[in-house]
Amino acid sequence: MTAVEEEIRKTTADLLAEGKADIVIGFAAGSLPMRATPCFITEPEAAQQLVWNSYCLNNLAVYLPGYFVPAPSLKEEKPAPKVAIVVKGCDGRSVVGLIKERQILRENLIIIAAPCEGMLDVDITQELVGTNEIVCAQEKNGEVTITDEMGKKTKFSRKELLAESCRFCKHRAAPVYDIAVGELPQSKDALAPDNRFEEFLKKSSAERWEQFSREISKCVLCNACRSACPNCYCKVCFADQTRPNWTGSGGELRDVISYHLGRMFHQAGRCVDCGACVRACSMGVDLRTFTYKLVEDAGELFDYTAGLDLEHVPPLMDFNASDSDSFITEPE
C-alpha cells in the first residue's frame, strides 16, 4: 500500500466518523488485472477497501449529479447528502464544470485531490502484449512489468501504456479541492503527446469524413459513452426523445452519426478531455479525435479551458459583441 492510499483511507474514515461526509466516492481494487473500480464508502471501517493506483481511470464525477437530483420515484424531500469524492485532475475539472452548471452543490461537496501521473490503459497494454492475457502488472520507477498468462514477463515504459487522454493531459491536479492527499503534480507539461491529432488535421475533408464515418460505424448504440460522461446528465437525452425524434431509429449509419454529432457537440466548451467516453466504448470507437477539436476550439476562439476555475463563464453560456464573425458567409 502506498502512502497516498493510506492517506485516502484515513481521510475517508475520518470524514465519515466525524459526520462531515455521508458518503465517500473513491476506487477499490478491480476484479480484472490492471483495473480499479468505483467504490462508495459509507462506513469508516469500509475505508480499507479504497485504493489509489495507476488504474483509477474512471471519471468519478459522473456519479455526482445523481446525489442532487431526486430519483423520480422519491416523493419525500430529503436533504442533499454530503458527498466526498477522490479526484484526479480530470475528475476535478468535471466537478468544477458540474458546479458551474448548477448540477451539484459546492457546499455539499468535499473534494479530495489525489496525485495523478497519468493512468495506465489495460486495452492499450493488452494490444502491446498480444493475444496472451495480462494477469499481472508491477510498476517500479516509471517501468511496468507485465506478466501474461503464460508467465512471460515484458517490460514497458510507463509512457507507452498511458491512456490516450492522459498523454495529452496538462492539468493532472484538481484545480479546486478541499483536501489534498500526497503531493499534487505541479507540472503542466503533457506526459507523452503524439501527433495523431495533427495528422488527422492534415487530411483532406473527404479523408476525414471517411475516417469519421468508419469509426462511427463500429458503434452499436449501447450509450456507454453517454453514460460514462459526467457532462451527460440531461434528464432525457435528445437521442431518447420521440417528439421530435432527432436521430431516427438507429437502424442506419446516418442515425448513429447524427447521434454522435449531437452528443459530441453538446460537449462544446464543456469537455475536459478525460477520455471516459473512449474508454467506456467496447467497440473501440475513437471519439477523442473528434471531441478534441471542441477542446481546442474553446481555447482558441474563446480562450477557455473547461473546469479550471469556478469564476469563468463557459463560452457557450456567454457572448461578447467582439466575438469573431469570420465564419459568416458574405454573399459578395
Partner: protein
Amino acid sequence: MADSKIAKNKIPELIKAVSADYTLYGPKAEAGIVALGRIHSAEELMLDYRNSTISAKELFLPRAEVVYEFDGQKFVDDKLPDEKRVIFGIRPCDCRALALLDRNFDTDEVKDPFYVTRRQNTIVVALGCNQPLSSCFCTAVGGGPFGQEGADVLMGDVGDSLLAKAITSKGKDFLARYGKFFSTAGSGSWDKQAKEARDKMSAAPTLIKPAFGGSELNIENLKSHLDNLFEDEIWETISCKCLGCGACSYLCPVCYCFDLVDEKTASGIKKIRTWDCCMFSMFTHHASGHNPRSANFARLRQKIMHKFNYYTERYGVNGCVGCGRCIRSCPVNLDIRQVLEKIAAAPSATKEK
C-alpha cells in the same frame, strides 16, 4: 461414430468449397474488433481468437432489421432472410446462447419468422476453447469450453489439425458433404482436451482471487435466492456504480430484448426491429409518464432477475452462458460474478418465504 480430422493446411480449400455453397461467416478482426463477419478467404479467418468482441447474436438478431414495409396502401411482400449460411469457428458459449435464444423465439405458441428462418438456414460449426479467458465462467453456468449445445458440428484445435464431430444431423450432412477434406481419425481425445480447458479455467480465477473470495462461483441455488431478494436493499448497493449503459446487454449473446419502431421512407414506411436494453430508463417509460422501473437499481435488478430467475422460471434454464463479455466490456468493472456472489451471500437470500 468416428471423428473427422482436417489438417490446418487444408482449411483454405475447405473454405473455398464451403464458400461456393454457402455464405460463410467466421471470426475475423476488423478495425481492432473481432467479430463473426463475412469470410471470403482463409486469410481472413482468425481461428486462434480468444472470443469475439461482439457476440454471434448479431447474425440471428441483427441490430436493426425491417420486419415489414407498407407503401401507404398495401404491404410490400415480407422478405424472409434466405441466405444459406455456415458459421465456422464460433465459440461454444455463443452456440449455447443460440440454444437459449431458441427457447424465446421458437416456441410452440409464438415463433419469430426472421429468427427461425435464420436458424434453419445456418449450419453452426463450433470451435472448442483451448484457452479460456480469465473473465470466462461458462462452466459455472452450465456450459463448458467444449460444450455442444446449439452447435451442429464441434471442432477442437489439436495443433496442426482440427478435430471435428457432428452433433446434429445437419452437422453430419455438413461433414459428409465436405468429407474429402477430412480424414477419419478414429476417436478424438475430446475428453482430455475438454478437461484441460476446464482445468485452465479453474486455475485462471486464482489470478484474480479477490473476485471470488478464493472459491469458485456457485450458482446452484441462485433462482431460489433471487425469489427472496426482490425487495432487498442489496440491489441499491450493487447498482451504486452501474452507469446504466447498455454495453453488457448489447454485447451479451443472450440478451435479446428489442424495440419496434416506425420509420418513414420516400415511398411509405417500414417497421424496424432494433436492439433495446432493460438498462435504459426509457425502456419501460409509459406514454403517461409513469415508469415502473424509474430507478437504476430496479433496472439492474430486472437484468439479473431476467437472466437468473425469470428465464429459469419460464424456460428451465438460466439466461447466461458465461462468455464474460459483460465483465470485459463494463466501463466501471461491475463484475457479474461478484454480483452473483453477493446475491448468494445475502442474509435474506436463504430465508423461508
